[in-house]
Amino acid sequence: MAMADATQDDVQVGDTTDKRGRLVTSDGTPLRRALERSMRRRKLMAFALVAPLLAFILIFFAFPIAQMMWRSVDNPQIVNAVPRTLEALQDWDGRDVPPERVFAALHADMMEDLDRPRREQRIGPMGIRLNYELSAARSAVSRTARQVPNFEAPFRDAFTDAHRLWGQPELWRVIQREGRPLTMSYYVAALDREFDEDGSIVKRPENRQIYVNLFGRTLALSVTITVMTFLLGFPIAYYLSILPMRYANLLMIAVLLPFWTSLLVRTSAWIVLLQQQGVLNTLFVNIGLIGDDNRLDLIYNQTGTIIAMTHILLPFMVLPLYSVMRTIPPSYMRAAKSLGATPTTAFRRVYFPQTLPGIGAGGVLVFIISIGYYITPALVGGQSGRMISNEIARHIQQSLNWGLAAALGSMLLVGVLLLYWLFNRLVGTDSLKFG
């Protein structure tokens, strides 16, 4: 019997193995390859399912973010505009006004630029770039550029006659320092620092420090808003979780209402309610809570930002809390009470710890959304309620210093990721429940 089996194996090369001892399927293809083939379809299918979203995210999210981060260090303006000047500046010590040959090189660079078609001219962008580092640099460059065709040697005097800034080593130091394809000056500025005469980084004068304080304020406001949403959201989420489904859904609509009202309507409502002559203040005055001459400033300041953003972000806290609380059976509280715990102890030691995943999820959501929130602070925040995102928007839309905006944005992004990482280390994101 055994003999017969062996012979058959040799003839058919076996049912399950080929000559080299590999496992094969019944039609003789190696098992491994057959498995791969059968899995390939499934892999392709899975990829096809995620491909549209993946492409969307790559094109409209990942790529712009990468581009933004690149823009925060990208520094082509000066390198492109005045290559000869930069070469001539190489052995300049940065102390005094540069020698004549540097001015001659600059003249040559500027003359060359005039030959370029108007849209491709590079001296203009260089002026703008220099102006970020040194105010008045732009007008120096543009005024000189108009007169350059008439300049004759010695160029040094011609340039300093055209604008006094050419005679100051400070401008040349900036040109020398920023005459590199990559720069960190945007980050230096974003951290309220600047370069001194020796090229080392020092703090800006106090009255010109903006961003670090603004980051601090953004952080503080976000924490406040997160705490407020927690304090307001926890009781309502608890109440929703113990209500019968029918009523809970009804109440949930009320909680979700901020999502459904248009931002402008909502903000107008806040303005009507909160302004000095508004509903709330008038009510307080009428019931004698405050005097007519010291009405409260509830809008166009930090208070306005906190009130409006707490309102808007409340659902992000309530939803994860609610979904976690729904899953906590009432028997835990009963068990705790039957074991002798007062209702307070039972809540504190048995119920509350089980809601922590929800609190963590809600907190992370609200905090991360609010740290980058833009529109509400812009509308109701006034001056003291502004956040870092408003400053970024200002640099993009008004001052057009995109490099600085990109540096601030990158710092915000890295900061959020850092906080998230920290949170993950402390609490563990795998225990989060987003709903």
Partner: protein
């Protein structure tokens, strides 16, 4: 309202009524007394009010009317955490964020016990359920049976005099359930604690309890030790609910003391014991256990009434034979016989004559 005997009980329900909606009573006039150290089971179909009774005793529901006494103290207005009653919940309700040790420590901590005292009691309680090695595990890392043991240990660790159990074995598989039944009864008796146990599983009720209260429709239908309950059901609900039963409807023909003759609707005459029927001509439902049906003439009284039956199906079940008979038009009449060497194995279509001892066949009320 309370009788003298009731007021002596450790746990007493005195005329307790409960309504959730103000229109229907879930518990209708409950009077019940549980002696100290007794193992009482509340048995009944779902919606019969048994769990509500347990929740009222634990303090999670308030009695709408009537009084609940614990050790002669009325406890209607005592909040649950001051009642000192241990409780095992249906899904164990072990705190998922605490280890086994912390779970057991919880009732001791809220009672303000010192650390060494706590550790000693926790160790003793865990050893009691043979779970000493699982102190630092989380509930989610334990199997269902292990969780069950921990829940039991937690309910016992603060040494309550009364322990309530709400279908604690419902989630376990059959073998484990049987093992735990034995273990719970052993513990309850060893520790001398009073236990009120709620279940809808009649086997559980019969094997574990000193007394079983059968609930239906918000009332206790019968309160007796398991053997009495099984052998002498006092009404047709209990007869139907506990164990397997053959029932036939008929009219009382004749009553003489402890036995009576019933004429079935098909015309046949049978012997029975009148339980809650009193006069001739009354309609009745007779009930007889499959294992008390006898096909062997020799084992019956000489003057016993016999009834013709036809074998519909013979099922070999190993230890017993289960014969489905057609008796007086009822095709689902079951006869159970022990697998003994002399036992006849009937075939389909066999004609037999069956009978029974009059006291095994109980003439009960006939529900409309």
């Amino acid at each position: 309202m309370a009788t003298a005997q009731e007021s002596e009980g450790f746990v007493v329900f005195d005329g307790v009524q409960k309504s959730y909606d103000g229109e229907t009573l879930v518990v209708k006039d409950l009077n019940l007394s549980v002696a100290k150290g007794e193992f009482l089971t509340m048995l009944g179909p779902s919606g019969s009010g048994k769990t509500t009774c347990l929740m009222m005793l634990a303090g999670f529901e308030t009695a709408t009317n009537g009084e609940i006494l614990l050790d002669s103290r009325p406890i209607n207005s005592v909040p649950p955490h001051k009642r000192g009653i241990g409780m095992v919940f249906q899904n164990y309700a072990l705190f998922p964020h605490m280890t086994v040790g912390e779970n057991l420590s919880f009732p001791l901590e809220v009672r303000g016990l010192g650390k060494s005292k706590r550790e000693e009691k926790i160790k003793r309680a865990l050893d009691m359920v043979q779970m000493g090695a699982f102190m630092s595990r989380r509930p989610a890392q334990l199997s269902g049976g292990q969780q069950q043991r921990i829940a039991l240990a937690r309910a016992l660790v603060f040494e309550p005099e009364l322990v309530l159990m709400d279908e604690p074995l419902g989630a376990l598989d059959k073998q484990l359930r049987e093992h735990m039944q034995f273990e719970i009864t052993r513990l309850a008796h060893d520790l001398g604690i009073t236990t009120v146990y709620v279940t809808h599983d009649q086997t559980e009720a019969l094997t574990m309890s000193d007394n079983v209260a059968v609930f239906d429709d918000g009332r206790i239908q019968q309160l007796d030790p398991p053997d009495v309950l099984y052998e002498e059901p006092s009404n047709s609900f209990v007869a139907q609910f506990i164990g397997e039963n053959n029932t036939m409807d008929g009219v009382i023909k004749e009553i003489k003391g402890e036995s009576c003759v019933v004429q079935l609707d098909g015309g046949a005459l049978i012997d029975a014991k009148p339980v809650n029927v009193s006069k001739v001509g009354e309609r009745t439902r007779v009930s007889i256990r499959p294992e008390r049906v006898e096909a062997n003439r020799d084992r019956l009284d000489a003057d016993a009434h016999l009834i013709d039956a036809e074998v519909m199906e013979f099922i070999y079940m190993g230890d017993v034979f289960r014969t489905r008979l057609k008796v007086a038009g009822n095709e689902n009449f079951i006869m159970k016989t022990r697998n003994a060497p002399d036992q006849i194995r009937h075939g389909r279509g066999d004609k037999v004559q069956i009978g029974w001892l009059p006291q095994d066949c109980r003439a009960l009320d006939c529900p409309a």
